[in-house]
Amino acid sequence: MKNIAIFGYNRLSYEAINRIDTESHRIMVFDYKPANIELALEKGINASMTEFRSDEDLKAIGIGSTVDTLFCCLDEDSENVFLTLSARALDKNLQIIAIIENPEAAEKLLAAGANKIIDPYQICGRKIHDMLKRPDITDLFDHTVFGRNDLNLAEVVVPEHSFLHDVHVSQLELSTHYNLVLVGIINKQISDQMHFVAEEADRRLNPGDILVILGPSREIRAFKKDVNDEFCNI
């Protein structure tokens, strides 16, 4: 169970909250404006009042201890920068995602310690461009992976002592055993680049490899369960 803290309730965070898988994530929503909290409560989101400027308050909600991911979704870029800086000081390993309004704020947020920047306008522009260029693929992803249909993207880490250890990629046959498509493999220790499965059929899996898979959530759950089961063998 991962803990996600979301700061700032607005249209964007509302969309995000709605789409996060609540089975494997616990979401906490905070805001410092009473009006926003009321709006969130109207929509059935349990938001609470917290002053992001105070380190004590941040510690109290679990930053530096229980919170794994922080989503800075406040309205002003300067507020997000401040929150990012404070949170990074409290926790070196926290995953911080921030949205920006003005593109100039991107550098500042990265310097303040954010892991990922989300620029809504840039994303929207890119999306429209995708629609112009490849309407079929864009439609497909909108309706499946990003949409309400049950086709999801997932990442599965190969643990120590798993049946996956030392298995050739070509032997995995996820598409027949699980109805999953293996897209690629990433090893964070080596690089962030994804190794593309079809090109590396001879590759053997090592602990720490992350498998990027696509499929229905039931199959993903089944696969994850089997991977973590030391005695399972397929």
């Binding site: 964007l12 994530h25 979704c73 892991n115 306008y121 994303i123 897209v183």
Partner: protein, 534 residues
């Protein structure tokens, strides 16, 4: 009998393709402002006119040369031909005949030749009396050598030059647009000239050392002074005359500055339109392009991507700041209101535009532009941005093909990233083609080797491609499981080995760009059919 023949000919012409083609060819050549032919024709006519004028001037100073005579004759023939052709395309006589004839049939009255001829001749006279036609006709005259007085009409040949360049027309338009102000000024100036001429005449006539001997001298002096030229050949000698001069000089300064300011104002108004028309002319050269309405953050991002891929586009925005930015970036841009029919038509929505993006920050404006575009062009693809959820259905209703909510898209991505950051980065990298790995579709075309083949038989692994699924509208596939509805089609995820492909299906494959390209080129060549089938 004659009238019957005419009606017959008119109907024959009306149904004749060759006649219409010929007419439209000459229309393109002579009148159509969007055609290339006209541009070439105009340029060659300008060259011809300049040559003919040089020749005429040479002839004035030298003996008439024989070669020059032939050349002049050739030019004359071209001019006459042009004059007649313009008259021909000016109106459609056969249409008038048919109209009159059908009217007569309908009302059950005899078909009268006289009324018909009157209408046809009236139309022709209308052409002959038109401004440029008169100049064309007068420009023919200096070719007649025996009467050297006709050489004065060379002037009209010079005027004819204006016909072929747009700058002269622009100047005339500018003057015409300020007709009222200019007329007022002219009337005032006339009064001033009249008063000043009379006064200087009264003071200076027969005065000592005065040069003003008659009313014309007084008039000449007034105009020269009023225009602030002041040659000095005539100067007032009496005190009264000098007072008139002082008064006239002060007033003339006012008149001149007023005149200049009218012209400048008119030009600066026209300048915008002129720049726009240049932009439109540039657009005309592209085979297809995209219209972007709204150049905010989203528009800038799209433009950047399109520019990188050498896709042609035009930006329309109301805000001067945005247009300045677009121009600085080297994009084609027009500062205007995209919700006006005229603006969109000028931008080519009915001609070569393939898509239109309505992405202003205001949903009301977006709905309006969407509606206007759909009304103007039934087939264009409209992608619209909605800023509020409740407006999405309105935009679809207005005729949008796709509606995008910036906050929804960003929220969606944020959620994906919060859930599985590593996988998400990988897949978005592929979708955005940051590396040379791409996800693309391959169509099962008619006669393609893929048609009616089983998925298991495709040697995709050898080709280093991963098959994600098949997009299809074919009902034959509906029995398969793992199907997801995507608009009017289905996406069959991870199809089984015995999934049989049908014509019109699309394979969604993941692989290196050149790998996919190679696969596609092989599958789209029916010649390889027997080889692959074995």
């Amino acid at each position: 009998m004659l009238s019957k023949l005419m009606v017959y000919i008119a109907y024959y012409l009306n149904s004749s393709d060759g006649y219409k083609k010929g007419k439209s060819f000459f229309y393109d050549l002579l009148e159509n402002p969007h055609s290339r032919k006209k541009r070439i024709f105009d340029a060659s006519m300008i060259v011809l006119i300049v040559l003919s004028i040089l020749l005429l001037i040479y002839d004035i100073e030298h003996e008439d040369s024989v070669m020059g005579g032939y050349f002049e004759l050739a030019i004359l023939l071209v001019f006459i031909l042009e004059y007649l052709l313009r008259g021909w395309i000016y109106s459609d006589a056969y249409k008038i005949i048919i109209e009159e004839y059908e009217k007569a049939l309908y009302l059950n009255i005899p078909f009268k030749m006289t009324a018909l001829l009157k209408r046809v001749v009236a139309k022709d006279l209308e052409y002959i009396a038109s401004y440029f036609a008169v100049i064309d006709l007068l420009a023919l005259l200096p070719s007649y050598r025996p009467l050297s007085i006709l050489r004065v009409f060379i002037i009209f040949r010079l005027f004819k030059l204006f016909r072929y360049s747009t700058s002269a027309k622009l100047f005339a338009d500018v003057l015409a647009s300020k007709r009222y102000e200019l007329l007022t000024l002219l009337v005032f100036t006339c009064f001033m000239v009249f008063i000043a001429s009379i006064s200087i005449y009264l003071f200076e006539y027969q005065a000592d050392r005065s040069n003003i001997a008659n009313l014309f001298d007084a008039f000449y002096w007034t105009v020269v002074t009023l225009a602030t030229v002041g040659y000095g050949d005539i100067a007032p000698q009496t005190t009264g005359g000098r007072w008139v001069a002082i008064f006239l000089i002060l007033v003339s300064l006012g008149i001149l500055s007023f005149f200049t300011s009218i012209l400048i104002a008119a030009f600066s108004e026209k300048m915008l339109a002129m720049r726009d028309s240049r932009t439109y002319a540039e657009l005309d050269r592209y085979a297809s392009f995209i219209i972007i309405c709204g150049f905010g953050r989203v528009g800038q991002e799209i433009a950047r991507h399109l520019q990188r891929q050498r896709q042609q586009f035009i930006v329309i925005d109301k805000a001067e700041r945005n247009i300045l930015l677009a121009k600085q970036l080297g994009y084609l841009a027009i500062q205007n209101d995209a919700s006006k029919n005229e603006v969109l038509i000028n931008a080519g929505i009915c001609r070569k535009a393939s898509d239109i993006l309505c992405i202003t920050g205001d949903d009301v404006v977006n709905v309006y532009i969407t509606l206007t575009s759909r009304h103007l062009n039934k087939n264009i693809r409209i992608i619209t941005r909605a800023n509020r959820h409740e407006n999405v259905s309105k935009l679809y209703q207005a005729g949008a093909d796709n509606v995008i909510l910036p906050f929804e898209v960003a929220g969606m991505l944020a959620a994906e990233f919060l859930g599985q950051p590593v996988a998400f980065e990988a897949i978005s990298g592929i979708l955005q083609e940051q590396r040379d790995i791409a996800m693309e579709t391959v169509l099962v075309a008619e006669n393609s080797p893929l048609d009616r083949r089983q998925v298991g038989q495709l040697d995709l692994r050898l080709r280093k491609l991963t098959l994600l699924g098949v997009i299809s509208a074919n009902t034959l596939h509906l029995k398969h499981k793992n199907k997801y509805k995507v608009k009017h089609r289905h996406f069959y995820f991870n199809p089984e080995q015995h999934f049989v492909l049908q014509q019109g299906d699309m394979l969604v494959v993941l692989g290196r760009k050149y790998g996919i390209e190679h696969f596609r080129s092989q599958m789209e060549q029916p010649r390889l059919l027997p080889k692959v089938r074995t």
